[in-house]
């Protein structure tokens, strides 16, 4: 198994600082207030973004079970065959791709409530589990 690690950079440092404290940050336009997932660099209107907290509550939009080599053993499904990944809709509106570690994919349902947790791979990263 791999020992995958994330190395922070300048753009992601505030996000990983908050994640280490168990807080999920997302992006908000400083001008129009539109919200974006963490990796967004600019608002669609070209204005700069700022970091704001998200509640970490979400609903499940889609999921898939990747049977290729797992990035890390911690990301395997409950049954251990494959890694479950998903798309979640944050309560605030933006969608995020996220790992759903340790879940049983047969228990997942469209629109089911999810909540953020954090898993550490060098840096803490948000993952989502059924609420």
């Amino acid at each position: 198994m791999s020992d995958f690690t994330i190395e922070r950079n300048e753009a992601s440092a505030p996000f990983f600082d908050a994640a280490r404290e168990g807080r999920l940050l997302i992006r908000r336009c400083t001008v129009c207030g539109r919200l974006y997932p963490p990796q967004q660099r600019r608002c669609v209107d070209g204005e700069p973004l700022e970091w704001v907290p998200a509640t970490g509550a979400a609903t499940l939009i889609s999921w898939a079970v990747d049977h290729g080599a797992a990035v890390a053993p911690d990301l395997l499904s409950a049954a251990g065959d494959g890694s479950v990944i998903g798309v979640v809709e944050l309560e605030e509106g933006p969608w995020m791709n996220a790992a759903l570690p340790g879940v049983d994919p047969t228990q997942l349902r469209d629109g089911m409530p999810m909540r953020v947790e954090f898993a550490v791979f060098g840096e803490a990263v948000p993952v989502f589990l059924p609420a």
Binding site: F4, I6, W95
Partner: protein
């Protein structure tokens, strides 16, 4: 007085070159590209000296670039470009060639795509998979954990959303794979020709659930080229002309947020109707469809978006047998990327040329006056559509 979309009706595809395809080793992508161009020019009954435009496309292995002109000994070209739109490239190449011909920039333009990602003793899936392990910086590291890490994983998420929303099933996707294999069994060039059943599809391993192995295209080495010239000149060349009736592109740029149609509706929903409007047709007028089929699900959502069935009914439409030999809408009649060969948008385009000409042999469809061709790249991010006709457009 000509309308703004008149350029399309003046162009025709007059030459087609397809190299050996599949696990063919010892040749570079540039070698395949050069051979495809020469085959296409000869097929048209033209000489290399007649070529005054070249539009090249390189696959995942790279290695095809504008230097191909020099390699081919082409001189004094009036147009030379590298077009890079992933799976939507072939349609874009033909569209650009038609515009250039209508605008008087060139008269005889070859569009070529080649790739050589397969190497002896390397798993074909690794050509498109990022390596696991190691370190990644910043949000790229987050994306490694969050996925999707492969195109297959991205399409699996999109397909699951379609299933969630419309009740589409894996068995319905399987009907697409089974039908295309039936077509492939009639195509001597197809790599996979052994018939498969729905049970085979269901029993094939998960690549990324809900996509089985038999929902996924193969990876191929090879090259395909087409020659585009004016409709007038096309009447006097070696092959039955394949006239361009309509073309369009749409690159949807999904906003991934509440209310997004991602996975439910793609760029095909705009590109398809636009190309058919330019052609002056509706889906009812289409005799044969050649639809980009990186995954079975891609065929399903594209046919829905093009209006061949209602939105959400693609699964039932496929399961009815409509796409298979003998069905109401013959689709991917060479076996497609799932069963024949995978050279991006040149796979559906080349089969459309063969069918419109009436040169499909055992797999030739009875009515072949109008064909629709799709190209698709990214994870439903880039889309092109061509409408081709056996006659000059009325």
């Amino acid at each position: 007085m000509s309308s703004t979309s008149d350029f399309a009706v003046r162009a025709a595809i007059v030459g087609l070159g397809i190299t050996e395809t599949g696990p063919v080793y010892g040749r570079s992508a540039a070698d395949f590209a050069a051979q495809a161009v020469q085959l296409a020019v000869a097929d048209a009954g033209l000489r290399m000296d007649d070529v005054d435009g070249l539009l090249v496309s390189s696959g995942v292995s790279g290695g095809v670039h504008i230097g191909l002109a020099g390699q081919l000994g082409l001189t004094d070209l009036r147009m030379l470009s590298h077009i890079s739109q992933a799976g939507s490239t072939a349609g874009a190449q033909v569209q650009l060639a038609a515009l250039a011909i209508a605008g008087g920039l060139a008269t005889t333009i070859v569009c070529v795509h080649a790739d050589a990602p397969l190497k002896p003793k390397v798993k074909s899936g690794d050509a498109y998979r990022q390596a696991a392990g190691g370190a990644a910086a910043g949000f790229a590291g987050l994306a490694m954990v969050a996925g999707p890490r492969t195109p297959t994983a991205g399409y699996a998420l999109a397909a699951r959303r379609h299933m969630n929303h419309y009740g589409t099933t894996s068995e319905q996707l399987g009907a697409i794979a089974v039908g295309q294999r039936q077509w492939a069994s009639k195509n001597p060039q197809a790599f996979f020709r052994e018939p498969i059943t729905l049970e085979d599809h269901q029993a094939s391993r998960w690549v990324v659930e809900p996509l089985h192995l038999l929902d996924c295209c193969m990876v191929s080495n090879g090259g395909v080229a087409v020659v585009v010239t004016s409709a007038e000149r096309a009447q006097h060349l070696a092959q039955p002309p394949v006239h361009l009736w309509g073309c369009a592109q749409t690159h949807p740029g999904y906003r991934m947020e509440r209310g997004s149609a991602w996975g439910l509706r793609s760029g095909a929903a705009i590109s398809g109707p636009a190309a058919m409007a330019m052609a002056g047709i509706t889906p009812r007028d289409v005799d044969v469809c050649e639809i980009y089929d990186c995954y079975t699900y891609t065929v399903l959502i594209t046919l829905e978006d093009y209006g061949f069935c209602s939105k959400g009914e693609g699964g039932a439409f496929a399961a009815s047998g409509a796409l298979a030999p003998g069905g109401a809408l013959p689709t991917n009649t060479g076996g497609g990327q799932l069963s024949s060969f995978y050279l991006w948008g040149m796979t559906p385009l080349s089969e459309a040329v063969i069918q419109v000409r009436g040169q499909g042999g055992e797999r030739q469809v009875e009515r072949h006056d109008v064909a629709v061709v799709s190209g698709n790249g990214g994870v439903l991010d880039f889309h092109s559509t061509l409408v081709l006709g056996a006659q000059p457009r009325a």
